[in-house]
Symmetry: D2
Subunit: 142 residues, 4 copies
Amino acid sequence: VTGLADAGAGREPIFSTTLEVRWRDLDAYNHVNNSVYLTYLEEARLRWLSQAQVDWAGADSGPVAAALQMNYRQPITWPGTLRVEKYLVKLGNSSVTLGHRIVDAGDADRVFCEGEIVLVWIDKSSGRPVPLPDSLRRVCGG
Amino acid sequence: VTGLADAGAGREPIFSTTLEVRWRDLDAYNHVNNSVYLTYLEEARLRWLSQAQVDWAGADSGPVAAALQMNYRQPITWPGTLRVEKYLVKLGNSSVTLGHRIVDAGDADRVFCEGEIVLVWIDKSSGRPVPLPDSLRRVCGG
Amino acid sequence: VTGLADAGAGREPIFSTTLEVRWRDLDAYNHVNNSVYLTYLEEARLRWLSQAQVDWAGADSGPVAAALQMNYRQPITWPGTLRVEKYLVKLGNSSVTLGHRIVDAGDADRVFCEGEIVLVWIDKSSGRPVPLPDSLRRVCGG
Amino acid sequence: VTGLADAGAGREPIFSTTLEVRWRDLDAYNHVNNSVYLTYLEEARLRWLSQAQVDWAGADSGPVAAALQMNYRQPITWPGTLRVEKYLVKLGNSSVTLGHRIVDAGDADRVFCEGEIVLVWIDKSSGRPVPLPDSLRRVCGG
């Protein structure tokens, strides 16, 4: 699981946004808990989809995480401002693979984690994959 | 990221434990949020280390997640009782790779997710890797 | 805010249930974070409503917290098993006031917190109060 | 528990700060979960103490919540920017009572909740109350 190339190395993100660390994100080790990194990625992803006017919250269909890969590079502490970057890795029929990085908002060379997530668009009642919405294809340049 | 073999397929776990889903684990999709799966894995891992009398919470050194891989198979709903299974994949000098599965406690064929995590033992002041504690090697049969 | 009588002192709860503390419930002080007490109360409340077959999750109406009072008595640590107790304080037309206590499941004299919560039943589209469901009145003996 | 006067009505806050709602703050009702309001209050409180250079995170002593009172006025949705306001209600020997309000950052008349919290400064090893630090008295004008 460590051999994956960093999707963000030397490329332009398709989206980036900044987030504030909350003290509650810390665990008893006094570092941001590893589960909270996924919340940061999710928040960035939903801001991206919202800005691109992709209807991800509708009643009929929407994205779910199908697979996730994360390399944790260094601990995140409080207080702090993070930048979450998204990269397009692969655009499929029903799925899109996004690379991600979380970096220090004031020092992009300080990489806290990088990895990939596979999102699948599903029909909410049946749970079956459906074609990606055109609005998502457009924002991915597809 | 989807090609990984399921470490738990047809093998005996080195540890398993049951957990209750909480309603707060759900998100606005009415499914357990994908970040919470990591909390389930963490809880099982710390119960395992505690039962094996591995000193993971001490002041000097302890485990951190270095890499994570997850395949999300189906949504988890509330209420529910889960079983988290841990598998030994690889025992290194400073790191251990654990396979994991989260299944329905009442129906082990209902697999909610599986994947792997790489834990590295670090010195808490320097952040540098240190040899795994003997107590952990013993419980891993190493 | 400290003068409130303990609703649970010397009375019989109308419901009690046990919960496991999770390590993620801790914060950087190594104690369960004060916000998580509300998650424990919520989990107990929804188990109670579910067992009493009160339709709280339906599309039309359901309960929301209108007011909360909590006295934090002593810190909760991990691992631990808690018992959450619910007391009926007042049954109104659209609202019910519940007393609550969180105690050590193995030692009921060890009280971690007590207080009260006012729940109001609302119409989910308008946000307006509606009469409490009969199923809730019944389980409250009203 | 509903009779408490709103500490923030018509007064100047001693501190205010803005926060972003995260999608993960929502629960299955699609509103910010009532426990998360406490996380917002905590984040604002710790920013305030940090800016005032009060040593709240030290090894020896620090604040714990002793009592909390909250009136929930209306649901918080995602996305949104909140302003958390703090008011001084009472300065004791070992404790300070703070009023709080969470309002819409763009419309201060839209009040999501208000209430009070009693913080007690304790010795971290013994758990016993200790006098408030001078730095805190100064920032409270005491």
